[in-house]
Subunit: 237 residues, 2 copies
Amino acid sequence: MLFSGHPQTPLRSQTKAKSQGDLLLDFASHQRMRSYRARDVVLAQSEGTSHVFIVIRGWVGKTVQRANGRTQIMSIAMPGDLCCGELRTQQHMDHAIAAITPITIAIVSKFDFRTVLSHRPQLTRAFWKNQQQTLSRQLSWSAMLGLSGAIERIAYLMCELYCRQKNAAAGPDTDSCPFPLTQTQVAQACGLTQVHTNRTIQEMRRRGLIELANRQLTITSLAQLMAVANFHNRSAA
Amino acid sequence: MLFSGHPQTPLRSQTKAKSQGDLLLDFASHQRMRSYRARDVVLAQSEGTSHVFIVIRGWVGKTVQRANGRTQIMSIAMPGDLCCGELRTQQHMDHAIAAITPITIAIVSKFDFRTVLSHRPQLTRAFWKNQQQTLSRQLSWSAMLGLSGAIERIAYLMCELYCRQKNAAAGPDTDSCPFPLTQTQVAQACGLTQVHTNRTIQEMRRRGLIELANRQLTITSLAQLMAVANFHNRSAA
DNA sequence: CGAAGGATTGATTAGTCTCAACGCAAGTGG
DNA sequence: CCACTTGCGTTGAGACTAATCAATCCTTCG
């Protein structure tokens, strides 16, 4: 069927952008895999692990929970990203790993992973590049939490998730994307209450910044939303 | 002079802990160096660089400033840490690098640094371990900002800076340490106002958690402060 | 001595949280 | 097919945290 009847089909959209991330993905898809349903806990807080997880499908969250019940989503990993990237075996973890959407992840022992890396410089580069991107994102995220109020935070989250999806996937450049987070999860990522998050999202709708329904986010004006969020897209193609 | 006349001298205190970090330090101290006074700007926001900085002496802050003037200190690098650790040359930066205390840093071109790394696996490991620690700290920091109120934030900052100093330096285990940050800088790190920071620090003094004067921090009960801060010392010896 | 940066205080306001309900839609079991 | 449950979104009222604006004090330093 390939090349068979649609000569005008833009092939570029198939080859777009998918650079190093895919090396990790390719590697991962030949490893031992496991799937989880949305909201399953992959690794509980305080539970240690001697394995590295590589996300193959879906979104995976790294979370902490306090004694008082409040939860924070510290980061969201998407396909090609790593969880528990620390290569020291048996690092004690003070955070949990949970599936946000249905996910498939590769599970590789840290020991094996180190061995593989030492034989594959390309893969090593991809791994470290990913780590560096993660670090960079995390830095920006701290700044954002420190500097921003509710609207800016939520706008920022939306910008980031939108851009990461668009950067990763080959697809038409629409102004909308899947947005599987519940308002409660948005709140947990942004350090807000669910109630206040709800009111703030309504405010954003009222201002015409976004539309959000049925787990689908539509960004009316990306430039405008990015301005509100003080968001700068680092990895723009 | 080694082993020459003080058999009872505790050598351990000299060799304590200073593990991989020092490889970077050793390397750095043979490179081109520069010193800055406290508060000097090493690299302005938006100014790119094709160099890596390794901190040799003093504290270096990574900061962002918004159009409205509010500033956030995203991270603090101490001797042995890196700034601008991204190895891609000419990455555009959206943050500034500034001296918190008087500092000395090594300046290495990213290109050269990559070359050196490829020949020195030990150094490479030290480098990546440092990056991983930084990432881990940054994750916890996001969680902290998202979950905590003013007292917890400031307590957390103090715990972290105290522990990092104690972990790095070989020295007597006192309950006090240098604390060169002004209240304004504490505020910028914690995402609070200077005024509110002041009131909160007073509250902490009133509660007997800390003493703070003349850039010297004394922690009355580390356990208690860590409890307030929800801080867990990862790299405890 | 004046100037400047830092710490402190007071009064007021804006932003978020808390608690408490309610509505709606999808799923489940009888 | 209906009653019940559950998860998610929505709304309202009141309390409280932290921001804002504006001074004042203190120390250091030129």
